[in-house]
């Protein structure tokens, strides 16, 4: 019973953590390259969830109800439109401020976040938008007494999608010319520019990839929980940002690790202690970690070269 219960909570925590991780990658990537926290990233996730809902209801009204086909089309639609959002945000709100004082893009990011939230609120309404379960049911892994450990199809789908996306993304960063350019920009933006890398384009692409991943997280969120509103980007964004900081901001594996940890801490705290204090627990662990490891779990210490 005790072990089965822990296993069930482990499944719950990993599922939640994977969604956080997918969003956290976008925070950490942008920070790695231009040293800025893109506060609008959580709202791109929210936009992605709305785009997915629009696509799904559009497809349903066109009569395309075969679940795998509808999901594939929705995924491509939401990811590409959200990518467009990501590119536009960078072009409109951040690029004109590059080279300005440090806080300017940060304030611009907060403004962009509020703009996106209000845009969704006004255009989609303030009420919760629901989606009935598309992939109900699941597997019973094991039974202990009366307790059945359940792994739902949706949880499997989230795990598979997340691992696949992160795999493709890692390949992109480590094995392609684009990835090399991104890593070069991350090491030294000015030097990369001097060596002939189109830094503006590389930064733009970084935003595009981050937004596409956030939109995929938005689709998974919509399918798994089935209720979205204009405010989900804020809550999820704060958690994902925390995950990125916990893992070591700027580090890609760190973002995923941080996401999983935040998800697991929240879940296990709710499982064995008070449900109400789970956020307090998650943030306390973050604070303690940062006291002992100021750069996060996998973060690098910046060596100041004189």
């Amino acid at each position: 019973m005790g072990l089965a219960y822990a296993l069930q909570q482990l499944i719950n925590g990993i599922t939640l953590g994977m969604i956080y991780g997918l969003i956290a990658v976008g925070y950490t990537m942008v920070y790695g390259i231009i040293g800025m926290i893109n506060f609008a990233h959580g709202d791109v996730f929210m936009i992605g969830a709305f785009l997915s809902l629009i696509a799904l209801s559009g497809l349903a009204s066109l009569g395309i109800t075969a679940v795998p086909l509808a999901l594939a089309i929705t995924l491509v639609f939401a990811a590409s439109l959200a990518a467009l959002y990501g590119w536009t945000i960078e072009r409109v709100a951040y690029r004109p401020l590059r080279g300005s004082f440090r806080l300017a893009p940060l304030i611009s990011a907060i403004g962009m976040s509020i703009t996106l939230q209000n845009f969704a609120q006004v255009s989609q309404g303030a009420r919760v938008k629901p989606l009935a379960p598309l992939l109900p049911g699941g597997l019973v892994l094991t039974r202990a007494g009366g307790f059945a450990v359940q792994l739902s199809w949706m949880q499997i789908a989230i795990a598979v999608t997340t691992v696949f996306c992160l795999g493709v993304f890692t390949w992109l960063v480590t094995r392609t010319p684009l990835g090399r350019a991104m890593r070069a920009c991350e090491q030294d933006l000015k030097m990369a520019g001097l060596l002939g890398i189109d830094t503006d384009r590389t930064i733009g692409v970084t935003f595009v990839i981050g937004a596409a991943l956030a939109a995929i997280a938005g689709l998974l969120f919509l399918l798994y929980y089935g209720a979205i509103d204009f405010y989900i980007g804020f809550v999820a964004g704060v958690k994902a940002f925390t995950a990125a900081v916990l893992g070591g901001i700027g580090s890609l594996p760190g973002a995923v690790l941080g996401g999983l940890l935040i998800g697991l801490i929240e879940t296990f705290w709710s499982a064995y202690f008070s449900v109400q204090y789970k956020d307090v627990a998650a943030f306390s662990i973050l604070a303690i970690t940062l006291v002992f490891l100021p750069t996060g779990l996998l973060g690098r210490v910046d060596v100041e070269k004189v």
């Binding site: 019973m1 069930q8 719950n12 919760v128 629901p130 109900p136 359940q150 089935g226 929240e266 879940t267």
Partner: protein
């Protein structure tokens, strides 16, 4: 100084003139959200009040005087409610049929108390409205905690010996509902297995659900709103739980089913029985239908508020708000479209009319 005074006098003079009502008329008001996201409910209240005033005036008015109805729009915004309340009081209104949202009714009632205006709300169910109200606050709808009585006794009678969990979202509405249900359930000799709060506004309740599963829960009583209730039952069924959800009137909206889909089947909630079906409402319902108005929701509650006030004023022989308020509590039960209604010392109805509804295949009906 004198110049300022004179100026102030000039500015205030038109208001003073406007505030004097015509002699042979009685000024009353209907206040509610005529704009904003709750505007449908405001419109229902207005329709009910208008019809009641027309019917009373057709039968000779109150104390031989005709009633004149003024409308106030609070948009369910507490600040606007206070300013509307001040405007209405300045006009010399003796009775307000309103407001809709508890968050508007409560601050407005403080203004009415200061200005000596009687208030009967057709829809505000938060206990604080009358608990912290003055002599002037009444309502013709039930209270959130009266739902708890009905729910608690039902659970005790039908689910004895099962594992029961009580959840709430720590809001005034949700916790109030959960605690009252627990109180009446315990009084009937049934103890819950688990009592815990959850955080509203979240999406992931899987940890909580696994906890319920580990405690082998078959019945959840939830004090909270439709979104969280929908998510919790959906995630519970996805984790393979066989469980019945019971909750309050917040679940009487199609939003609940849209989230749960088929997993919401069999969910039960307490809600007022449909007033349109009561025999006392038959003739008034016909009048509305002749005007092509469906007296749904709060239309008849609003009608009853005006009707009961008029009866009490007639019996008291005055429209003085304090005397009418005393008469409302002492006299009665009052005949209304909702059936006979009496008030306790706080201004709440003595017999709440909550019944159980059940979700089945995408719609809900009375059990």
């Amino acid at each position: 100084m004198t110049k300022t005074l004179r100026l102030a006098g000039m500015v205030l003079l038109p208001f003073a003139v406007a505030a004097v009502p015509a002699k042979a008329q009685i000024q009353i008001a209907s206040a509610g959200p005529l704009t904003g996201s709750n505007a449908t409910f405001g419109a229902q209240m207005k329709e009910g009040a208008e019809q009641a005033v027309a019917d009373i005036n057709a039968h000779g008015g109150v104390l031989g005087k005709q009633l004149v109805l003024t409308e106030g729009d609070d948009a369910c915004d507490p600040k606007q409610a206070v300013s509307i309340a001040n405007q209405l009081a300045d006009k010399g209104i003796v009775f307000v049929d309103g407001h809709f949202c508890s968050s508007s009714s409560i601050p407005a009632s403080k203004v009415y108390l200061e200005q000596g205006v009687l208030q009967i709300s057709p829809a505000s169910t938060n206990p604080a409205f009358t608990d912290n109200g003055g002599w002037n606050t009444f309502r013709v709808c039930g209270r959130d905690d009266q739902q708890g009585e009905v729910a608690g006794e039902y659970i005790a009678a039908h689910f004895k010996g099962q594992h029961i969990a009580i959840l709430h979202d720590n809001t005034a509405y949700g916790k109030g509902l959960a605690d009252e249900t627990k109180k009446f359930m315990n009084k009937a000799g049934v103890e819950e297995t688990l009592y815990t709060a959850y955080v509203p506004g979240e999406r992931d309740y899987s940890a909580l659900v696994s906890r319920l599963k580990a405690a082998d829960i078959n019945v959840i009583y939830l004090g909270g709103y439709q979104t969280e209730a929908g998510l919790i039952i959906r995630q519970a069924k996805e984790q393979g739980m066989k469980v019945t959800l019971i909750s309050g009137d917040a679940l009487v909206t199609s939003e609940f089913w849209q989230i749960t889909g088929a997993t919401g089947e069999g969910t039960m909630m307490t809600f007022a029985s449909d007033p349109r079906k009561r025999p006392t409402a038959a003739s008034v319902v016909k009048e509305f239908q002749a005007k092509k108005i469906d007296p749904e929701g709060y239309v008849l509650y609003s009608y009853a508020a005006v009707q009961i006030w008029a009866e009490a004023a007639q019996k008291a022989g005055t429209t003085d708000p304090k005397k009418v308020a005393a008469e409302l509590k002492a006299g009665g039960p009052w005949e209304s479209v909702l059936g006979p209604i009496g008030f306790d010392a706080k201004g709440d109805v003595t017999k709440p009319d909550y019944v159980f509804y059940i979700w089945h295949d995408g719609s809900y009906h009375e059990m």
